[in-house]
């Protein structure tokens, strides 16, 4: 046996009720190697990793660490085997500061926060992390939280590192930083397993790729010998095209005219500064920008959820041909006009879905007002739920399974599908593919294009510049709460947009 193998799984099977999350899965990762795990949403990647880190216990199969069979019954066992996992949903205590979170659960050593802090700082310096160890988690950005998670695992001396979709919520710059750290750790002899849906990241970072499909192990390939196309085929099981269809817009009308929007946040910082643009029907308007440049505030302003200090939002109603100023309307009135917002926040849970209810009941939450009798009308929502399950290929036993149980990506499909189903006239989708696998992402892109063809004014906030350039007719670039440019999606260059994204207030 190759004694360079740090971790090996053989014939792992795990079921939840009658959902088979993993079926006879094999996996191995060597020291000084980065292994990617690829698979559609709900294919059982997180479940497999959770078994390695002691959260779940496998029904069948065995796990070997450094060549010896082990039984990992709790996270503590995993630590003792020097396995550390960075979970998809961070496991941090909000009201603690970074240091407290990092030392949490450590046994043996005498409790000495000051000393621990110094040691942690050394770990940070070694790998080049910049982090304020006294900052409370609730004051941190997503990327800071992730850094805390990584430092925590390293400080505990993990040799096998598992990262579950670490890049889903990071900006391109943050991702590059993370990759640099991971490479340094690999060169340090650690074994690293990373889950990501972004194929170019897989190709850029990893040495080998293992693929799961519907809980089954498909195979492992060397990254050097694969392409986006070949990996996608392994993952999906059939040939699919990776091109986005972009028909020319026709019959466009000015649907939403935004003029000089100003907005301050709760801390009195100006988050929107003199924003003006037009969203046309039958067109996809992309919004690009570094995370936190005002995207959220802008969309919320249009949806009536933000208090504005200046400017106006004129909505040209296609039914009445009247121009309405949305600033004077309540969120419900705006929604009834057909302006719909689906926002997928950075933490993808807790985003307008009730975890304990099934898909059908969650549909009802949005449409109950339309019910004619005083009793709940279950037929329609159920039909809608089943339609979304079919159209978007949501992996779930049935429409009544609590959405909390679905894998992250599937929860998201439900969320986006619900807004689209409301047949809006303006559809705002912010990060709708955050964390979605390739196939589902394309399903969503096609849905947006379909809406555009129906004459809906689509506003799409995205992270991936390549996608924005493939999907959108026009792209508005935000930087620091200001519009730094509106470019044509067909002719613009990636570099051009990148520059606009970082253009600062002084106009440099």
């Amino acid at each position: 046996m190759n004694n360079n193998i740090a971790l090996e799984c053989r014939g792992i099977t795990k079921t939840f009720g009658h959902v088979v999350a993993n079926k006879n899965v094999n996996l191995s990762v060597k020291r000084g190697e980065i292994l990617s795990i690829l698979g559609e949403n709900g294919s059982g990647k997180t479940t497999l990793m959770n078994m390695i880190s002691g959260i779940y216990f496998p029904d069948q199969g065995s796990i070997f660490v450094n060549g010896t069979e082990v039984s990992i019954r709790s996270p503590k066992d995993a630590f003792n085997l020097k396995i550390g996992m960075i979970h998809q949903h961070f496991k941090l205590v909000d009201v603690f500061d970074a240091t407290e979170n990092i030392v949490l659960g450590l046994s043996g050593k005498k409790f000495n926060i000051k000393k621990a802090k110094k040691e942690i700082q050394e770990t940070c310096d070694k790998y080049g992390f910049e982090i304020d160890l006294s900052k409370k988690i609730y004051d941190m950005s997503v990327s800071e939280k992730q850094t805390v998670e990584i430092v925590k695992v390293l400080y505990r001396g993990a040799d096998i590192l598992i990262l579950d979709e670490p890049t889903a919520v990071l900006t391109p710059q943050e991702i590059q930083k993370l990759f640099a750290v991971l490479r340094r750790m690999r060169d340090d002899g650690k074994a690293i397993i990373i889950i990501t849906h972004k194929l170019h990241e897989v190709l850029e970072l990893s040495d080998r790729v293992s693929v799961l499909r519907k809980g089954e192990y498909i195979g492992t390939v060397n990254t050097a010998e694969s392409t986006e196309q070949s990996l996608t085929e392994m993952m999906v099981g059939e040939k699919i095209s990776l091109d986005i269809d972009r028909p020319e817009p026709h019959d466009t009308k000015d649907r939403l005219v935004v003029k000089g929007l100003d907005c301050f946040n709760a801390d009195g910082v100006k988050v929107l500064d003199d924003i003006s643009f037009v969203a046309k029907s039958g067109e996809i308007l992309g919004i690009a920008g570094i995370a936190g440049s005002g995207q959220r505030e802008l969309l919320e302003a249009i949806a009536g959820l933000q208090k504005l200090s200046g400017g106006e939002i004129v909505y040209n109603d296609p039914k009445t041909e009247k121009a309405e100023n949305l600033r004077n309307k309540t969120p419900i009135e705006i929604k009834n006009l057909g302006v719909r917002l689906s926002f997928v926040p950075e933490d993808r849970l807790g985003m307008g879905l009730v975890g304990n209810m099934g898909i059908a009941d969650n549909m009802m939450l949005r449409s109950y007002k339309r019910g004619k009798s005083m009793f709940l009308e279950r037929k329609e929502p159920k039909k809608l739920a089943n339609k979304i399950i079919d159209d978007l290929k949501v992996v779930t036993p049935d429409a009544n399974t609590p959405v909390r149980r679905l894998s992250g990506g599937n929860v998201q499909k439900v969320l986006v599908g619900r807004e689209i189903a409301a047949s809006p006239t303006v559809l705002m989708a912010a990060y709708p593919v955050r964390g979605l696998d390739i196939n589902s992402s394309y399903t969503i892109y096609n849905l947006l294009t379909e809406q555009k063809e129906k004459g809906v004014a689509v506003i799409f906030v995205g992270e991936d510049l390549d996608v924005l350039l493939d999907l959108c007719d026009r792209i508005l670039v935000l930087s620091d709460g200001r519009v730094t440019g509106i470019v044509d999606g067909r002719t613009a260059k990636k570099e051009e947009i990148g520059l606009l994204m970082t253009k600062s207030k002084e106009g440099k």
Partner: protein, 315 residues
């Protein structure tokens, strides 16, 4: 005025013991609505054992044992209640609110039964409990206010301070808070969530139970009254009132004590006014609750997973 303050302190320390125990329990994520029942059981066990001891020893009772023995009995009896609560909620995963309410009803019943085996009069025992520093009388109002109390009163303050210290300065405290805030995180960090919840609940209940004993022996001077559960609800309110900080509760409990008995010291009130006065602690608590939630301060919030049962494979 002086006797008002002295009474307020003695009643207050009853609240303090109850609420410190409840705070420890809640910090681990257990919302124990059984505390009123637990305090009843604590009082009954303590009084019963005191009765037994004094009847055995007659006139030769040892003043130290006469205090420590009932205290131990009250602690153990209440801790058993905590064990029951933990078994139901951690092991059997029954809803915490339901378990707590059932425990209150159960505790009141049990204590009534235990106490029916005694003569309902513990004045002799109470003397031991209220025994204080002999030099207190020489120090005028200062001595009366601060030094005239019995062992349990000082123990209450000591426990509250110790608890604050453990919460903020020790590893156990850090782990305990993590369990109450986010059990999944604590679990993933290698902390035994169930063990912490069991331990915190048993110890917390034990301390709450001492509050019941303190009420009978120190405040009521050994006259049994069937109203300890009302004190228990106020202890739970006090936890909220002091935003889960036992150190603040030392003063907060005296305020509660004062409000609760204000009517008997201010003359010229009708019975209706009395009841209004007794309502004040609850109103103040609601105001505090409103205040903390409006301010949305991240620091003064209940433990995030309070009342939520943890199951590792559930998500």
């Amino acid at each position: 005025m002086l006797s008002f303050l002295v009474s307020a302190i003695r009643l207050g320390m009853t609240f303090l013991l109850g609420s410190t125990g409840e705070t420890i329990t809640e910090k681990a994520g257990h919302l124990n609505l059984g505390t009123p029942g637990v305090m009843c059981v604590g009082a009954a066990c303590g009084c019963f054992v005191e009765d037994l001891y004094l009847s055995q020893t007659g006139l030769y009772a040892d003043p130290v044992i006469a205090v420590l023995l009932p205290v131990a009995a009250a602690f153990i009896g209440s801790a058993v209640m905590g064990l029951l609560f933990s078994f139901m909620t951690v092991t059997l995963k029954v809803n915490q609110n339901v378990t707590g309410l059932a425990l209150t009803t159960f505790g009141v019943g049990v204590s009534d039964y235990i106490i029916s085996q005694t003569g309902l009069a513990f004045q002799r025992g109470s003397k031991f409990f209220n025994a204080s520093f002999s030099f207190a009388e020489d120090l005028g109002w200062f001595g009366e206010l601060f030094l005239s109390h019995g062992f349990l009163i000082y123990l209450a303050i000591f426990i509250a301070l110790l608890t604050t210290f453990v919460f903020n300065k020790t590893k156990i405290g850090l782990h305990l808070r993590a369990v109450g805030e986010n059990p999944a995180t604590a679990d993933a960090a290698g902390i035994n969530v169930s063990a912490y919840r069991y331990a915190a609940t048993c110890i917390g209940c034990g301390i709450s139970g001492l509050g019941g004993l303190c009420f009978i022996m120190n405040y009521l001077n050994g006259n049994w009254e069937y109203c300890i559960d009302a004190i228990g609800w106020l202890a739970i309110a006090l936890v909220i009132f002091t935003v889960w900080k036992p150190s603040i509760a030392i003063l907060g409990s005296i305020v509660f004590g004062g409000l609760y008995i204000a009517n008997t010291y201010i003359t010229g009130f009708t019975i209706q006014d009395n009841e209004l006065f007794k309502m004040l602690p609850y109103i103040v608590t609601i105001i505090v609750l409103l205040f903390t939630s409006i301010r949305d301060s991240k620091k003064n919030q209940p433990p995030q997973s309070l009342g939520i049962t943890y199951f590792r494979e559930e998500r």
